[in-house]
């Protein structure tokens, strides 16, 4: 059975508050904070992108595992909707930036916010079929919301990397996916900002897919919400996963640990993955986790995971935890934000 061997996350240090974005657009910040449950979000520095964020997250995962092991990685897949190049894989640059062996399978994946979990599933398949001993799956994004759009309060940046092999710290008991053609959110080639179907993004997209995948997983595993110590769902904002959890019968105490979007924003391909990473920062042997990602377009990937005894001897402290990375941010105002995100029209643009 495939198992999470190591993991690591990265959140940019720059952050902006919901109040500051609301100030510019004349909106009531309480509506955002109470309505969307988004208080602040991460902002990538001008010299950060999905490659640099993936590198940091992956180096954290490698440091916890032991640098000497990294040449054993036989596949690397990177899920994102903001790869630095339209053509030229992020994955191949990572092979060099991480010092991996050149005898490696590598590719970039796309599926809105669940490209990273699609990468995990592919690595699970390769490990279970003995095609590779270890593989790395990364979800990372530097997502953009159009200025003044509701998405601007949440679209943010971050990354998480999982190393998967046969014997690890958290066994992946099962994975299940549910996929339909749903036009809730999209971005055409060459367009800078995404478009979305407004209210259409809720019920027929997010909730339908998350709830179906979660219910089906519990049916397949013969489990109930109370059998899980933790649950983590894709987090376009804080409100959606909180409501989905309630609809499924989970308590707030089961989702608190993995609910990161209120503080760092929606990190897209990293959104559920960093929640899982935050749970693993805390988890103890025997803890059971239900993790469900969602990607617009649309689909959900569900994972049933049990933490095992190996987590006791695992070097969690060899990399900063997710919550450690929430500390000590550099707060920026909207003017710096538009400069950092290159929303200023320069000569020659």
């Amino acid at each position: 059975m495939a198992s999470i061997v190591s993991y690591g996350s990265y959140i940019p240090r720059y952050r902006i508050k919901a109040e500051e974005i609301a100030r510019i657009w004349g909106e009531n910040p309480d509506n955002i904070k109470n309505g969307l449950m988004v208080y602040s979000k991460s902002v990538p520095a001008p010299d950060e992108d999905v490659l640099t964020i993936s590198t940091e997250a992956a180096r954290n995962a490698i440091n916890r595992w032991g640098k000497e092991n990294r040449k054993k990685i036989g596949a690397i897949y990177v899920g994102s909707e903001s790869h630095p190049y339209a053509v030229k894989p992020t994955a191949s640059i990572l092979v060099e930036s991480l010092g991996l062996d050149y005898n490696i399978m590598a590719a970039d994946y796309e599926f809105a916010c669940k490209a990273g979990t699609a990468a995990i599933q592919n690595v699970i398949g390769l490990v279970d079929s003995d095609m590779i001993e270890y593989g790395m799956a990364i979800g990372a994004d530097t997502s953009q919301g159009a200025p003044g759009d509701a998405l601007e309060y949440s679209a943010s940046a971050g990354g998480t990397a999982f190393i998967i092999g046969k014997k690890g710290i958290a066994d992946i008991n099962k994975t299940y996916s549910f996929t339909t053609d749903t036009p809730d959110f999209w971005r055409r080639e060459g367009e800078k900002y995404p478009s979305h179907g407004g209210r259409f993004t809720g019920e027929p997209a997010y909730f339908k897919h998350i709830l179906t995948a979660a219910k089906k997983m519990m049916e397949l595993m013969n489990t109930k919400p109370e059998d899980y110590d933790y649950a983590v769902f894709h987090q376009p904002n804080g409100k959606f996963p909180t409501r989905a959890a309630k609809m499924l019968g989970f308590k707030d105490s089961q989702i608190e640990e993995g609910l990161m979007t209120p503080y760092i924003g929606n990190t897209y391909s990293n959104s559920m993955m960093i929640g899982l990473s935050a749970i693993l920062d805390k988890a103890e042997p025997g803890d059971r986790i239900l993790a469900v990602a969602f990607g617009s377009g649309a689909g959900s990937d569900a994972f049933d995971i049990t933490v095992n005894d190996s987590i006791k001897s695992f070097n969690r402290n060899s990399a900063p935890t997710v919550r450690k990375q929430l500390e000590n941010p550099i707060w920026i105002d909207y003017a710096y934000y538009v400069k950092f995100r290159k929303k200023i029209i320069m000569r020659g643009d």
């Binding site: 520095a45 001008p46 010299d47 490659l51 640099t52 640059i93 060099e96 930036s97």
Partner: protein, 134 residues
């Protein structure tokens, strides 16, 4: 002239601080050297690649307010000489920090960032920069 070939040849030392070590006298070098300047001929065949740990401390630094065009979005930026734990001094930017946070002797670790891009259609060059250890 495009920098693509030169940059590509140097990518491992720019991405991961890969230098060299002389196995005759133990000296370490960054950027990598083919021959040890102390041992000269005796070092031939004894030079090996060494991936630096990425840790070090601020040896000296300056705050740049009037930088080149590629750095316009990062001004003011901190340019520092880092005394690596392995020994060699490496010059690089300290990012994600306010100049008031940086002191001589501050502990830093390496990170990978965009260095420059060749216009909107060219290659993106990545390389090492440093962040303060907390």
């Amino acid at each position: 002239m495009s920098d693509v070939p030169r940059f590509w040849r140097e990518s491992n030392h720019r991405y991961r601080l890969v230098g060299t070590k002389c196995n005759n006298c133990g000296s370490t070098f960054f950027p990598p050297r083919d021959v040890c300047p102390k041992c000269r001929r005796e070092s031939i065949g004894k030079m090996e690649e060494l991936e630096f740990s990425g840790y070090g401390e601020v040896y000296s630094y300056t705050v740049v307010h009037d930088g080149l065009e590629p750095f316009k979005f990062q001004l003011p930026y901190i340019l520092a000489m880092i005394k690596t734990d392995e020994g060699p001094l490496v010059t690089g930017q300290i990012v994600d920090a306010d100049p008031s946070e940086v002191k001589i002797g501050s502990r830093v670790r390496v990170t990978l960032r965009r260095i420059r891009e060749e216009g909107k259609t060219g290659i993106i060059q990545y390389g090492y920069k440093f962040i303060l250890e907390k």
